[in-house]
């Protein structure tokens, strides 16, 4: 009986639905002028703490915004693999100092376990050559986390704050899932509850999270679209995620 229960528990564990994250990870989020003029970007879809990948189909849109100008980068994407699943990569030349905001709108992802479609509007901010101008840029995406903390140049332990927006309006008490990109698999969660942490925004849509360690952290604010999507002739819920990836730096001493 005990053996049976253990096996059942293992099966349940294997099918537990952890948080999905669209991902845009740059090779460097604060390159100095001595570090070259290009940044590599990797676009994927995954459960980042567990290192479990999912297929990322060709995005609907991928762009960079700098000094108020948005450039379409969709044609620059090359196929690659992340966590053994289809993903995309590109290289981008940053001409001038300032903040470059890279944003992806993926195709809606049908998730049978949740009986819903998922679309994660995903972005990350890169500060080029020591200039942080534009760090609080709002792109005007369908749903978006607008940073209140600079989304780079953060020490581990600092808080990150943002406003959750949907159709340009703050979302009171929005739920924000937070997950660490456990790239080398070294991080261990003492409980499944620690794989994806959840915070809620306040009445003004502002949420706060303090990262316990350095590395990439993904913040996903989740809302449901007013319009359902069709799957095999039936209306299905459409989860709209506003995702931002933020890097926290290790405390450094001489």
């Amino acid at each position: 009986m005990k053996t049976f229960l253990t096996a059942a528990a293992l099966m349940a564990s294997a099918t537990t639905a952890f948080a999905h994250y669209g991902m845009i990870i740059p090779s460097d989020n604060m390159p100095g002028q001595e570090d070259g003029r290009t940044v590599d970007l990797t676009l994927s879809f995954s459960h980042p703490f567990e290192g479990v990948g999912m297929v990322l189909d060709t995005p609907v849109a991928f762009s960079v915004t700098h000094e108020g100008e948005t450039t379409d980068l969709l044609d620059t994407l090359n196929e690659t693999q992340v966590m053994d699943h289809a993903a995309f990569a590109t290289e981008y030349r940053m001409e001038r100092p300032g903040t470059y905001v890279f944003a992806m709108e993926p195709q809606p992802y049908w998730e049978p376990e949740e009986d819903a479609f998922i679309t994660h509007f995903t972005k990350t901010y890169v500060s080029a050559y020591g200039d942080d101008e534009g760090w609080d840029t709002e792109l005007g995406l369908k749903t978006e986390i607008v940073p209140l903390s600079k989304p780079f140049a953060l020490w581990e332990g600092n808080v990150f704050q943002g406003i959750v927006k949907l159709d340009g309006e703050a979302v009171p008490y929005a739920e924000v899932e937070v997950e660490y990109y456990n790239e080398d698999g070294s991080a261990q969660a003492p409980s499944d509850l620690m794989i994806t942490q959840t915070v809620k925004a306040d009445a003004d849509g502002v949420f706060t999270y303090a990262a316990p360690t350095s590395g990439w952290w993904g913040f996903a604010a989740l809302n449901t679209a007013e319009e359902p999507m069709q799957y095999e002739g039936e209306d299905k819920a459409h989860e709209l995620g506003a995702v931002i990836w933020v890097h926290f730096e290790p405390w450094a001493t001489k």
């Binding site: 002028q33 001595e34 070259g36 003029r37 001409e95 020591g130 942080d132 101008e133």
Partner: protein
Amino acid sequence: MGHQVIRAFTIALTIVAALPAAAHDLRVFASVADDTVTVESTFSSGRVPTEGAVRVLDAENTLLMTLEIGAEGMTRFALPEGAENSGLMIEVEVSEGHSDYWMLTPDDIAYGQKTDGTN
């Protein structure tokens, strides 16, 4: 491109680069279009310095010229002969503690000449 070129260029200019590291409230950027170098000097607040010195050095740390910051924080000068091969170090000093630099690498210059600096 460019990382190895920039690193080599950085090593050649280590002494110069060590000079202006203190204050980061002045921001300097330089680009090339055709054979003209444009240096942009701004404070992090968005304001532009009203006066200051722009020093142009080659990869051997030889001072090639000293110019004044112009209107809107812009300074322009003709690309010195041979700079496309060696690069330039451009230092801007507004006042004590307000200085910054930009390394214009051979790759930067080649790219600017190829694209007219508009891309």
